[in-house]
């Protein structure tokens, strides 16, 4: 059937199973919006306050569902406003298709009004991107973009479509969605080698990340750990794949991870790394990383093997295939000493905080205790994010939504909106006063679409995470990290048409949270916390997990 490019785009999106798109209109996508108008029954368009909110929305949608998120923006500033969100998705391997309009082909290269080379700009932060020269290629480009976004290691793909291509007419024929190319299985030899390393080990540690979440192998990892008598930790991207109370699970490891998992990893003699990239935040300084441990690294992206840390056995294959076959091939192991050692680490961790009043942790416990298991837990970036990662009790997969790789402040509210659009579940956004200031315009969107999100601002009147660094490493010289703003978040929420509550301690917070959690739309809770609260443990720069800072007293700072 003959159609315009804009129509072909919309039809191909429907063909690819897209039911929701996030975006913001403008002159160079007005044709596309016109065609979306005809298909409102098939594609729901979420109009955000800012393109950055839209791209984080598409990203949140993808994280909550595993499907590809889609965002549309106009040329020039619309397109550049997507950049942070595309980079966020890129660093966390989130499947995303970003569609931008551009000026006509005849106007390209002349610095025309709102012309920008967005394919050039996004080259290093996309899996691939396309500039569509001719309407003849459009449908195939869109299909390839969706395939690329989902296949192998997922990631963002951008399609830039000049206005004349949107207007031009060409034949469109519906096609079935292509099957994704399979990730290769693991070889018998690699399994044998892995078994051999396991037999030589007495202190095995399994470290999993976003790749394990992507392939949903939490249960399989637990079985493998039982067989190996191993303990389990994860990177920030792996959280929620295994329930927090799983007996062998020690929680998130790393710079601000749990004490037991970080130290256990450092003391292990075998690390089995599944779907991770040995990020510096998870490993500390890579040169000093677990020097005495043998390392097995399994990932679907060959380029990850040996990229950051040299490994003894690197395998590029399907994670589930590896874990299942290894579990079968491996004899039952018993590492009594190791498990005893790890339990004593856990005890030390518990003792360090026992009885200490700490409002951030108490507040997070209140959240955990008052939500349904499928509630999505979304964060921004900073101390609040680390506390959430450390203390939240995860019970269901894909309930943890955070910007791990890029650490994008302002990610949270857009992502929470996207999460809801994809999953239909309530969400709780844990944010800081700094981060919230970067995305609070999306309160308007949350109100419009009645998004049931409880926004908890951990209000320390500071850019706490940076302030913590200044405290520990810069002698408490708090340069530009005190947020002495007069913003009244309760009134602000009301001005947007949302509800707002204030809380200052455990009791008032619990009351406020219970009330807020029942509301059908967004609610803001402004929770006052101390500005010098710290995220502990903390890894010193260049330090190793054997000398983690565990308690406040360990910081050699007069201010304490």
């Amino acid at each position: 059937m003959k159609m315009t490019g804009a129509q072909i785009l919309v039809e191909t999106l429907i063909e690819q199973g897209v039911d929701t798109v996030f975006g913001f209109p403008g002159g160079m996508v007005v044709d596309i919006y016109d065609k979306l108008y005809d298909k409102q029954d098939k594609i729901k368009h979420i109009l955000t306050a800012h393109e950055e909110g839209a791209v984080h929305g598409a990203d949140g949608y993808a994280r909550a569902t595993g499907k590809t998120g889609v965002v549309i923006a106009t040329s020039g500033p619309g397109a550049t406003n997507l950049v942070t969100g595309i980079a966020t998705a890129y660093l966390d391997s989130i499947p995303l298709v970003a569609i931008t309009g551009n000026v006509r082909n005849s106007m390209i290269g002349r610095d025309s009004f709102q012309e920008i080379d967005i394919t050039g700009i996004t080259l290093p932060i996309t899996k691939h991107n396309f500039f569509v020269h001719k309407v003849q290629n459009l449908a195939e480009v869109v299909r390839t973009a969706f395939e690329l976004a989902q296949s192998g290691r997922p990631g963002p793909v951008l399609i830039d479509i000049p206005k004349d291509v949107q207007e031009a007419v060409f034949d469109y024929k519906k096609k079935p969605v292509a099957k994704l190319p399979a990730i290769p299985a693991c070889s018998d030899i690699d399994i044998e080698k892995a078994v051999k390393l396991i037999k030589e080990s007495k202190r095995p540690y399994i470290y999993f990340g976003g790749g394990a979440l992507r392939t949903s192998i939490g249960e399989d990892i637990e079985k493998l750990a039982d067989k190996l008598d191993a303990v389990i930790g994860c990177s920030m991207m792996g959280l929620s794949e295994i329930p927090t109370d799983s007996p062998r699970f020690l929680g998130m490891q790393g710079m601000h991870g749990r004490f037991a998992s970080s130290v256990a990893m450092a003391k292990a003699d075998l690390i089995i790394a599944l779907g991770v990239r040995f990020s510096d935040r998870a490993t500390g300084k890579t040169e000093k990383y677990a020097p005495s441990a043998s390392k097995i690294h399994v990932d679907c992206d060959r380029a990850e093997i040996g990229k950051n840390v040299p490994v003894d056995l690197g395998i590029c294959c399907d994670l589930k295939d590896f874990v299942d076959r290894l579990t079968k091939a491996c004899p039952q192991r018993k590492n009594t000493e190791w498990i005893k050692k790890v339990n004593s680490l856990r005890q030390r961790e518990a003792d360090a905080y026992e009885g200490l009043p700490f409002l951030p942790r108490d507040a997070i416990n209140i959240i955990s205790d008052n939500i349904k298991p499928d509630t999505r837990l979304v964060t921004d970036v900073g101390q609040h994010q680390c506390w959430a990662a450390q203390f939240l009790k995860f019970r269901k997969k894909r309930t943890w939504i955070t910007s791990g790789g890029l650490g994008t402040m302002g990610f949270g509210l857009g992502a929470a909106i996207g999460c809801y659009m994809g999953s239909g579940s309530r969400s709780v956004l844990i944010t800081g006063d700094g981060s919230f200031g970067m995305c609070l315009n999306e309160l308007a969107t949350a109100v419009t679409y009645k998004v049931p999100v409880t926004i908890v601002i951990f209000n320390n009147h500071a850019l706490g995470m940076v302030r913590q660094w200044q405290k520990v490493f810069f002698d408490g010289r708090y340069s530009n990290t005190t947020i002495d703003r007069k913003t009244d978040f309760v009134k602000l929420a009301q001005a947007f048409g949302a509800k707002g509550f204030k809380a200052t301690d455990k009791k008032t917070f619990e009351e406020a949270f219970k009330k807020a959690y029942k509301v059908k739309g967004p609610v803001v809770i402004d929770l006052t916390i101390k500005s010098d609260s710290l995220v502990l443990p903390m890894l010193k720069p260049g330090g190793t997990f054997n000398n983690l800072i565990l308690r406040r007293e360990d910081i050699s700072d007069a201010e304490g």
């Binding site: 899996k127 691939h128 380029a303």
Partner: protein, 171 residues
């Protein structure tokens, strides 16, 4: 860590913008290209890019893996230093004087290069060979005062009857 000179041959879609995607990967990952050539191949669909760089073993693997991830990259191989044929082309213009001219002509003969332009002021010479020969020739020409020169960077093929699509050991 010990660094080796490596030669990478890449088949890419013969399309606009592909070269910048390939070079952008090197920039973004912090790898330094020594030389780069690009041109047509036996098939109009593909261009062949030949890149040389110095890299430790780990970096070599990383470069190759990252290249293989690029959508427009269809094939990547590392050519063996010994089992490949390698050529570079040099055009070099040196000052011509009565005193030096005989020496220059003699040098071109010894190095088996070719004089392609000759004026009272300058002699222009074409040289082909592997990079060491070109380096040596330039070094020798320095004493005659080089006015200008340019070299193409390396092109290389496997020896024998195989081609880039044949099986290579590093895959």
């Amino acid at each position: 860590m010990q660094k080796d000179k490596i030669i990478i041959a890449i088949y890419v879609d013969n399309r606009y913008g592909v070269l910048s995607r390939v070079t952008a990967m090197f920039t973004r990952r912090g790898f330094n290209i020594d030389s780069l050539t690009v041109g047509e191949t036996e098939s109009p669909e593909y261009s062949r890019i030949t890149i040389t760089l110095s890299a430790a073993k780990n970096d070599k693997d990383q470069v190759v893996s990252q290249l293989r991830k690029l959508y427009n990259v269809k094939k990547v191989i590392v050519l063996s230093q010994n089992d490949s044929i390698k050529r570079e082309l040099l055009l070099i213009k040196v000052k011509n004087t009565e005193k030096t001219h005989a020496d220059i002509v003699e040098a071109t003969n010894i190095f088996r290069t070719k004089i392609i332009d000759f004026t009272d002021e300058a002699i222009s010479i074409e040289a082909t060979g592997d990079s060491q020969k070109i380096d040596a020739f330039i070094e020798y020409m320095k004493k005659f005062e080089i006015i200008e020169m340019c070299r193409t960077g390396l092109v290389a093929l496997d020896r024998g009857g195989t081609n880039i699509w044949s099986e290579h050991e590093d895959e």
